[in-house]
């Protein structure tokens, strides 16, 4: 199902607009470059080409999360590694290969203590841990489709005082999925 949902900032990860990446308007060197003998001569801050590539959300039940992002939001599955609860699943909207969500096991970093791990799983359960902002050109149609997928609705499409119209759902792990109308 083509979902028409976009993730993150920018237009599908196409990167920096051409007029910016040409480095217009910046000709001088910054201090570091001067001291390092001009190795970086010609480059400038504005010529960096960085896109927002992957953001991660925790899962609690990898199969349930996978089903939500694939079957309810209509995302494609780009990779799926690991097993059991230790699975890393990359999903994203069809036609936007430059932007992905990594569904990852929570608190898998070995530096996280047992207390922190417990706190993270509790915050996920009570719904105060992970969240993401998606956008779509047709909010009402998207809301209807997601709601029909037996998803927990947090907010029906609403005009917000700060100038956006959005709705909100929970994913199976308790992450808040806010979807905003593209204007």
């Amino acid at each position: 199902m083509p979902s028409g949902i976009r993730v993150g900032a920018g237009e599908g990860g196409r990167g920096v607009p051409a007029e910016l990446s040409r480095g217009r308007g910046v000709s001088g060197r910054i201090g570091q470059e001067s001291r390092s003998g001009g190795r970086l001569a010609g480059s400038s801050l504005l010529s960096m080409d960085i896109s927002i590539h992957t953001t991660s959300l925790p899962h609690e039940d990898p199969d349930a999360s996978l089903a939500f992002y694939r079957d309810v939001l209509g995302f494609e599955v780009r990779s799926d590694v690991g097993q059991g609860r230790m699975r890393w699943i990359t999903v994203g909207p069809a036609g936007q290969p430059g932007t992905s969500i990594l569904l990852a096991p929570p608190a898998a970093d070995p530096g996280i203590t047992e207390d922190e791990r417990r706190m993270i799983t509790e915050m996920m359960a009570k719904g105060t841990y992970g969240w993401i902002l998606l956008a779509t050109p047709d909010l009402d149609a998207t809301f209807e489709k997601v709601q029909a997928g037996d998803t927990e609705v947090v907010q029906e499409p609403t005009e917000q005082p700060y100038g956006v119209r959005d709705c909100a759902f929970r994913d199976p792990a308790g992450n808040l999925i806010r979807i905003q109308q593209l204007r």
Partner: protein
């Protein structure tokens, strides 16, 4: 014989299930605050008594479900009043408050001025970011208990 870690795992699972139920209650308040919700109805849906729900909700979120519900209503009321065109009584019922008296006193407490005197733009920022200060502070120990 039961190993102690099995018992601990069961307690953990029950705790997470309880927090998930509380999340559903909170989400329902977010979704349906403009309808005539009350704590008894919220509690029934998750098979708790009103007292149980209030206690557990406060321990998890730092305020009672009624407090959270009223905060959502007042927040919406500031938006509606700011747009203009509605009388205070109309705004009161539009945000789900059955009692104009409770609406006015809670509004005044959270926003700093009574609803009739509220003018959009004079009060900076959305209610949720700005107002809950004193409420949160007073209830911080309850939230801290969750950590322990």
């Amino acid at each position: 014989m039961c190993k102690p870690e099995w018992g601990r795992a069961r307690v953990r699972a029950q705790r997470l299930a309880e927090l998930t139920r509380l999340r559903r209650v909170r989400d329902r308040i977010d979704r349906e605050f403009a309808r005539p919700l009350d704590v008894e109805a919220l509690a029934r849906e998750v098979n708790m008594s009103a007292g149980q729900l209030s206690r557990q909700f406060r321990a998890a979120y730092g305020e009672s479900p009624y407090g959270y519900l009223m905060k959502r209503r007042i927040e919406r009321a500031t938006v509606l009043l700011g747009r203009g065109g509605l009388a205070v009584t109309e705004v009161c019922s539009a945000v789900g408050c059955a009692s104009p008296g409770a609406f006015t006193s809670r509004f005044t407490e959270l926003v700093g001025v009574p609803p009739g005197a509220f003018v959009a733009g004079r009060v900076p920022g959305p209610v949720r970011n700005r107002v809950p200060g004193p409420v949160r502070n007073r209830e911080a120990p309850a939230a801290a208990r969750l950590v322990a």
